[in-house]
Each structure stands twice: as C-alpha cells, then as structure tokens.
C-alpha cells in the first residue's frame, strides 16, 4: 500500500516537478550577482487579447463534442504552425464545430441551451461571433429542432455568397431551417422528409442528401424562401455500397466516398444532380485486404492542386468510422494515388490548408503513456479502459510529402471535426 500511495503522489507530481526543481535552483544561484547589474522588470497592466492579424491559412478550428459532458462543448482555435491555442468558444449542448463565412470572416456557431442546463425549455441559436474579439455579435433564434449526431459536418451549410445558412433538423421528422446572415434572422423551415445533410451548390441553392440515394436541390429566392425542391438522380446504391456523409466539394462537383472505397463524383452544376463518374480509391488487392476510408471527417481537398486527402484504415466494413492509420492522397483529375503516409497518431478527422505551402492537420487520439507501455501491459494481460488511456491531439503534417511537423496535445476533450478560417 505504501508503495501504491507514494506512487500515486509521484504520478501526480512528476509532470512538472523535475523541471521545477531545476529552474528554481539555478534561479537562486544567479540571484546575488544578477540583482546588481540588471534593471527591474516593468509593471504590466492586464488586457484582453484580440486575434492577431496576418495570414490565417494555417489556423484550424477544432470541434469538441465532449461526450462525457455534452453540456459543455467547445470550438477551439489553433495556430497549427506555432502549435498554439488562440482562443475558444463555449458552444453549448452537443455542438460540433463552426461554420466560417469567408466574406465576413465571422464565425457561425449552432448552439443549444436549456433553461436550467439539462432541463427546462430548449433554445437553439445561430450565434455569430466577431473574428477579432471572439465575442457574440448576434444570437439568432432558430426552431429548437437542430439535429445532434456524432458527425456534425454537413449538418449545416452556407450559401456560396454567405448570405444564407441552412440547418438540418431532426425530431425525428426531418426538415431544414433557412437563416438570413445579412438580416441576421430566421427565414423559414422547410419539410425535407427523408433528406438530411446539407451541401451548398451556388448562392441560392442547397443540396440535401436523401435516403433514396439522391441529392435534392433546394432552390431559394433572394429572401431565402425555398421556391422549389428538385429531385436528383440516384447516384449510388444505398444498400450495396453506401457513401459516407462527409463529402468534399471541387468546383461544381461533390465527391462522396463509399464504404467499399469508391468515389461517387456528383455533378451539381444543374438543379437535377447526377453522377458524373464513379472511380475507385483502391485496387482489388487493397480492397481484398480490407482497406477503406475511415473516421468522421475522412476527406479533404486541396483545391488549387486538385488533390484529395483521405483517411484510411484496414478493417471490416462496420469499422469505417474507427480511427485511421494512414493518409492516401489522390490526383482528382487522373484518379491516381500520388502519395501515402503513416499517421503519427490515429486520427478521426483531416483537413488540408488552401495556401501555396499547404499543411495537413488531423484530429488525433494520442495515448497518455508511451505506446510501448500499453503494448507491454496488453501482452501480460493487464486491462485498461479505452477512454482512460487516449487524449485528443492535433497532428500537423507537410501536405507535400506527409512529413510529421508537430503534435499539439490536449486540444479538446474529444475532437471530431476540423474547420479552416
């Protein structure tokens, strides 16, 4: 027991103790001499930071669904180059990231609150935050029916001109709310039975993914009212080879990846959406080995280079949302795989920056003690709880060759989405 007790306290202390002793010791040593020669440090006045100016290409918003305390979700902004946290939003119950209108630079957060934390009347808002102060500018009331699920990307979308916001509702009846971001007001809620996730397609059109394997067009007038819904053509087999909902856009096309490793590239240029082409991420031997797209936010596109970055893992079909082990990179035009690289830590979300020297960021899961320790324990049959031994981290890679640049620790309680300013 004495052993256990002391050990625990050591565990509690080790984190910073060693450094601490060292520094203070050296400090005392310098004291006498230093005091004579050096001027004193000037007094300071506390202030509140605002967001630094300059390029934001390598900034990344981490969406934290905090499953152990879903009442307290956050969106947390990091500078991936410096590995530095820049600020955070408290986003209420079960938020899953932010939307980032390029035209204003504002931050749009879909937030849900109850009168008494976990009980009482429910209130949903589209909250608009100032990008410099991170303070709320507008809190736009919405119908309290926003859909909550572990995957939050494509649960809402911005029109191409950032004028309108569309939000998926689920009660479990399905509908979509339209919000005017110039007037900062809710416009209307339209019934979209059988259809949920949202994919922008122009200034006055949203696509919604339907259970019948089509992308339906919701066409709005200039006030944001939906004037018609136009069915698309079936573009995949929802039973034979379902696509995952986190699609990525390139021009007029939306690229959907399927559980069996195909890309269904949808032509969304006209109101009647249709499959442009289906191509494969895998050759037959890879498919036989069980390689497939993995994670919650499994794909990202570097638009200028026309490259598709995909989180990949090996495993049965049902494991398609488990953490990925590798990143496979494709040239979209030629469908050729141009690069693969291992992940420093397994990851559930990926993003790639759009600048000339792009970086890849991943929402990763890192073990709290070295991997080999857990290997050792598992070999001798010691059990530990999965959610006790991993912590979310942000990994940063060079997009050109996959070189691991840095790992940022403790970025969230549980990160499932990444969004770029």
């Amino acid at each position: 027991m004495g052993f256990c007790k002391a050990m625990t306290r050591l565990g509690l202390s080790l984190g910073l103790g060693l450094l601490g002793v060292g520094l203070l010791a050296s400090g005392d040593a310098q004291a006498a001499s230093a005091a004579k020669v050096q001027p004193e440090l000037a007094p300071e006045t506390i202030y509140v930071e605002t967001m630094p100016d300059g390029p934001r290409d390598h900034w990344i918003w981490v969406g934290d669904v905090n499953p152990m305390s879903s009442v307290d979700t956050r969106a947390i902004l990091f500078d991936a180059d410096k590995g530095k946290m820049l600020g955070m939003l408290s986003t209420g119950y079960w938020n899953g990231g932010v939307l980032l209108p390029k035209s204003t630079g504002n931050i749009v957060s879909l937030e849900t609150y109850f009168d008494k934390g976990t009980r009482g009347a429910r209130h949903d808002y589209a909250v608009i935050y100032d990008p410099h102060t991170l303070m709320p500018l507008h809190e736009i009331p919405l119908p309290p029916r926003r859909m909550t699920a572990l995957i939050q990307t494509r649960m809402a979308g911005l029109s191409d001109d950032d004028h309108f916001l569309a939000v998926t509702n689920f009660t479990p009846a399905q509908s979509i709310s339209i919000v005017d971001l110039e007037q900062n007001r809710f416009v209307e809620e339209v019934n979209t039975a059988g259809c949920g996730q949202i994919y922008p397609a122009g200034p006055r059109r949203f696509l919604t993914l339907c259970g019948d394997a089509t992308l339906r067009s919701l066409v709005m007038d200039d006030t944001g009212h939906v004037i018609r819904q136009v069915d698309g053509k079936v573009f995949f087999d929802p039973f034979g080879d379902p696509v995952i909902v986190h699609a990525e856009r390139q021009g007029d096309d939306w690229l959907f990846a399927s559980l069996n490793g195909y890309i269904y590239q949808v032509d969304a240029s006209s109101e009647v959406t249709k499959l442009r082409e289906k191509w494969s991420l895998l050759d037959e031997s890879q498919r036989k080995k069980g390689w497939r797209v993995a994670g919650y936010q499994a794909m990202a596109i570097q638009r200028a280079q026309g490259k598709l970055y995909v989180l990949m893992r090996k495993g049965p079909e049902d494991t398609y949302e488990q953490p990925a082990d590798e990143v496979w990179v494709y040239d979209i035009a030629s469908h050729k795989r141009v690069l693969t690289f291992d992940l420093e830590n397994v990851a559930v979300a990926i993003s790639v920056s759009q600048d000339a020297k792009p970086i890849v960021t991943t929402a990763a899961l890192k073990t709290v003690v070295p991997y080999w320790t857990l290997v050792g324990l598992s070999v001798i049959g010691v059990k530990f709880e999965e959610y006790d031994i991993v912590k979310p981290a942000l990994d940063v890679y060079d997009a050109s060759d996959g070189a691991h640049l840095r790992t940022v620790d403790h970025v969230a309680q549980f990160a499932t989405s990444l969004q770029q300013p």
Binding site: P67, P172, V245
Partner: protein
C-alpha cells in the same frame, strides 16, 4: 511492420467488431415506436423466463451487440430500465443479437434514457450493420433522445428484449 506489429494488427483486427472508440450514440436498424407501443416486427410467441447469463455492466453482454453509448446498467438503470430521474426515448432503434445461453437471435430495442447529462460510465460501442446518417433505419451516431419528453439531453442507453427474431 515488425512482428510485434503484425501480432497487434491481427489482434486489434479481430477485436474490431467488438469495440470502437467511434460513437457515443446508439446503433443498428431503426424503427419508430411510441414508448409503450408494440414494435412492428415479426415476433414469435413467447414464454416466461429462461437463462440470460452475462454481466449487463460489461460491453460484451450479448444484448449489446448493436449498442453505442453509455450502459444504463452502470448508471442506475438496467438493460430494460432507465435510471431514476430520466425518461425513456420515445423513439427507439432495434438490433438482432444472439443469446449465447439459448442460441436464439433476439430483437433488441435500444431505447435511450434522456434528461440528465452524460452518465459517462461504461461507454460501449459495438458496430453491427452500422450505416451512415441518411440510412436512419440503420444509422449510427444519431442522438435518439430527439423527440423524447426531455428532448435531446442524452444520459445512457438500454437494451430491451422485444422478442425472438423469426429471421428473414
């Protein structure tokens, strides 16, 4: 990869169906029911009581084959009851799990319990036939407290026996 590596690879592959870090919500083929209503499913005539061995506080309990959430059995409830102070979800989804005690396939209804913050104990994810969100009949990751009288405040998940599957 080195040998150790391969060993681990195989091991974890084999375990993949049992567990996943992935979700905190319930899984498996979905149907809509009133909380008290009778499921619209093929159900064989049933008799009372039989073997139901296994530890309902462990993720490997047979009824949890398609569950994805915190086990109510660790939160003040049981496989067929919600913890005090919560309400059962009005919507439920079902899976088909084999009872190792009698070798039969049972239809299991995974009602969420709602109205308190996350129980945060016994997180359990087992993925059989999980499908993306638009397949609401089989969609994982959806918070099914939606539509409950406590709205979307998710606390934990149950695994209620609906009946024996007459199989398709």
């Amino acid at each position: 990869m080195g040998r150790m590596d391969k060993w681990i690879e195989e091991r974890s592959r084999g375990l993949a169906r049992q567990t996943s870090r992935r979700g905190f919500l319930a899984t498996a083929s979905t149907i809509l029911l009133g909380a008290a209503a009778v499921p619209l499913l093929p159900v064989a005539r049933l008799q009372a009581d039989t073997k139901d061995d296994g530890d309902p506080t462990k993720c490997d309990y047979w009824r949890y084959c398609a569950i994805d959430g915190f086990l109510c059995s660790c939160c003040g409830g049981s496989p067929s009851s919600c913890p005090p102070g919560t309400v059962a979800s009005a919507v439920t989804w079902v899976g088909t799990c084999r009872n190792p005690n009698d070798g039969r396939d049972y239809i299991i209804s995974y009602n969420d319990c709602c109205g308190r913050s996350s129980c945060a104990r016994c997180a359990c994810q087992r993925d059989e036939g999980d499908r993306p969100l638009y397949r609401t009949d089989a969609a994982n990751d959806i918070n099914w407290c939606a539509g409950s009288t406590a709205d979307i405040m998710y606390n934990c998940s149950t695994a209620v026996i609906v009946g024996v599957s007459t199989g398709e």
